[in-house]
Amino acid sequence: MTELTELGVARIRDGVKAGDFTALEVAEAFNANVAAAQEALNAFIVATPEKAIEAAKATDAKRAAGEELGKMGGVPIGMKDLFATFDVQTTAASHILEGFRPQYESTVSQNLWNAGAGMLGKLNLDQFAMGSSNETSYFGNVISPWRKAGSNAPLAPGGSSGGSSAAIAARLCPAATGTDTGGSIRQPAAFTGTTGIKPTYGRCSRWGVVAFASSLDQAGPMAKDTRDCAIMLEAMAGFDPKDATSLDLPVPNWEALLSADLSGKTVGIPREYRMDGMDAEIVALWDQGVAWLKDAGAKVVDISLPHTKYALPTYYIIAPAEASSNLARYDGVRYGLRDLPEGANLQDMYAATRAAGFGPEVKRRILIGTYVLSAGFYDAYYTQAQKVRTLISQDFAKAFEQCDVILAPTTPTAAFALGENVDDPLSMYLNDVFSVPASLAGLPAMSVPAGLSKDGLPLGLQIIGKAFDEQGVLNAGLALEQRAQFTAKPEKWW
């Protein structure tokens, strides 16, 4: 029998249901992998082996009683430490929330437990999901299980969902939750040879998810392949009256309707994404992707998204502005850290607590956000950015008059080394150049592993779809996946 930790969501679910193995055996196998890799990869902030065992036993008992096991029955998963989990430390990888034990459960995680999933632990991430390399966590860097051919230099697993991507690639979990504000599911998926989808804004409830930029934040699944993502997204999504921006729509049967036949579909190739000085390997992969989608029956057309070059600067006004407002809640009064210097008054306590509790990147973004929202600058920065965001969204709407989905690279390069971009915030921000536009427009988008770089590192292709059309995105993703036949995995060194 294949090692249980090599299996994905669908095969675990089906295997448990068929009685090929028990949910308990699966949970124990992944628990062992989590424990063995922790020191080397640092993918988890807290491991919860007892939670995984408890859920597995419940699934096995249900099976014995002949009951339904749920969409995720018997599947243990990793939970990004941005989701509030009842009485289990929830930190957003920050010092300011260290020790915070929520007295409630996020809607998305509750949906997953209701569907039969179990929790292996809380996954590391960039602090407050602000970062593209997982180097801003208070609890240390996540190390990618991947290494360049002939080198032992530690690589970034991507960010912010870097614990999620590293854990899946290293077989510490079959799937994990991610959140995507400007690419935080897709970029780490691309860097680690895993698959991840950010659904339409509003599909997954934000209730109980530590807020970064509320008009952009959206949860989604990360897994080994497209089918597993479809299954897990079905379990995560759904209307939630507790989130004012939740979509009041039924959850489609994405898994049942998966089809890699793209006959009658049109794929758009945005010419503005082909940038000067682009990595030749990325260009070649993109061209290969075009050929694969044609082979799947799709028609391919050139499209234009004229405001693409303004997406990143727009994002780096809107996201910090919303963050500066959202993160005002960390005040040393209600939860988390308090730093009260001798003789300090209330205002001093706020300032000392926030100075001690936030990392440098979080402070940088709060300051930028505070500045662009401040009197005298609001219109020049924030209102202008919101107007350009409208134009970016309109670009997509026009493009989708000509095509059903858009194909683009996920990232401009393969994974970079840890430390390579930390001294220059701007070069780090540029990593999100292909992922941010879809976030600004609230559109569903996924990354599928499509090949290896000359250094042996994974590269991803991105599919962007119309609002509410996760099915179209998943189907095109499946068509790519079947042709890319990506089976590479990191050689075990940890």
Partner: protein, 100 residues
């Protein structure tokens, strides 16, 4: 537009983050780099464009006007609310004295 040390100190004070002189010095060029970069948005003609308010069309809902409409987020949860407070006394949050 660019910021100087005094402006960054003002922003930090507005954001209630204590920063040292050394941190201030380091932040000024970093923030100026980012601000100079985002300023390219100024070249986009947005004279007839409405600012984005909702990225996906949606309507705001009203919940039923009843007490504890959702028991999960309703009232009567003092202990749970205070469970993570750094200082909780007599059923309230404790803070340094604010009245002189």
């Amino acid at each position: 537009m660019s910021v100087d040390t005094a402006t960054v100190a003002k922003i930090a004070s507005l954001a209630r983050i204590k920063v040292s002189e050394g941190e201030l010095e380091a932040m000024v060029p970093e923030l100026n780099g980012i601000l100079a970069w985002v300023e390219q948005l100024g070249e986009v003609d947005t004279s007839n464009v409405e600012p984005m308010t909702a990225v996906i069309p949606n309507t705001l809902r009203l919940r039923d006007d009843v007490v504890d409409a959702d028991p999960l987020t309703g009232g009567g949860k003092r202990e749970a609310v205070l469970a993570n407070a750094p200082v909780a006394e007599h059923g309230f949050y404790g803070v340094p004295k604010v009245i002189e």
